[in-house]
Assembly symmetry: C2
Homo-oligomer: 209 residues x 2
Amino acid sequence: MASTSPDRPRLTRKGAATRARIVDAAAELIFQHGVTRTTIEEVRDSAKVSNSQLYHYFEDKPALVRAVIERQADRAIGTQEQFDLSSLDGLHAWRNFVVDHARDTGGRGGCPIGSLGAALAETEPEARALVAASFDRWEASIMAGLQRMHTLGRIAPEADARQLALATLAALEGGLLLAQVQRDPEPLAAALDAMLTLIATLSGTTSRG
Amino acid sequence: MASTSPDRPRLTRKGAATRARIVDAAAELIFQHGVTRTTIEEVRDSAKVSNSQLYHYFEDKPALVRAVIERQADRAIGTQEQFDLSSLDGLHAWRNFVVDHARDTGGRGGCPIGSLGAALAETEPEARALVAASFDRWEASIMAGLQRMHTLGRIAPEADARQLALATLAALEGGLLLAQVQRDPEPLAAALDAMLTLIATLSGTTSRG
């Protein structure tokens, strides 16, 4: 589910690799230290590129940050789409993957998209809009699984897949934020378990908890 | 539910008022522009105090930010405690208040505590711990309402008040973040409605949605 930027110039294979290396380095630094504390010089050094290379691909820091948002959204949604959210088993497997990851990292960094949204929402309108679009894509991806539950007759017809998808994404984001601040995966587990219990109730079965 | 800092010097009435004016000014600037973009000079000018006054109460910016975290936590928890979370009606009234506020503000600023947590978690360990303690207090306050539901026999005995309180706080935080980024209260409404539906199910009644 790679996103496309119509204004992005066509790159050679080598150019695309260099660009990706810059975006990866920026994503890692931003995830570790936050977007306001990450400088373009640190990204340049970490990616082992020259100033002229970096500015060939990104005219300024906001342009680089936008590329990081798209990269993190592609990754997060791509990871989630490895799970089948149209079954309770698939939802539980996804829940376990996310909670285990938060346990392994002590919650550090929080959600790579949500942290960028919180940091940029009030000062960078273009970045805010791009994070909002990323959340829309993510919500649509969760909703697709819940809609298949409908089609397969696995969930009550009156269950609103869009509202459940929004609530599940909010539970994930709030759970990741609490896990980050408290260095503890338990709030994330509680948030996702609540949604899974609700979905299990709507599907007429009992959640495995 | 005002917090107490044992290391805070006893202040005269005038001193306490000046200190509060500085914290209020800092809280407002941080809420609008984010903590990393707010300078101590801006706070000084906004609070109409001198450098020596400001540094009399706060030795540095981190000390001021810690006071802002405590002030915002006192306010958020105090506001929530105006609602009776031991009844479905009270939970709905709280949900409506929070969603209406997000609608009025277009979600701007997100959660005053959550935004600080996201901004400081990876770089300011003391601030992170203080935000974590604030979330603990908030969770305990929500849990107290749900525990009263137990005592009053309004919710199934097997419902875990702590897990539900954690999940409700996560729904609130994730909903506020999505509402902030999307400038739309709908994700917040969906997140809280999901929790209210779950609690209504556990209480054996149908949520009013």
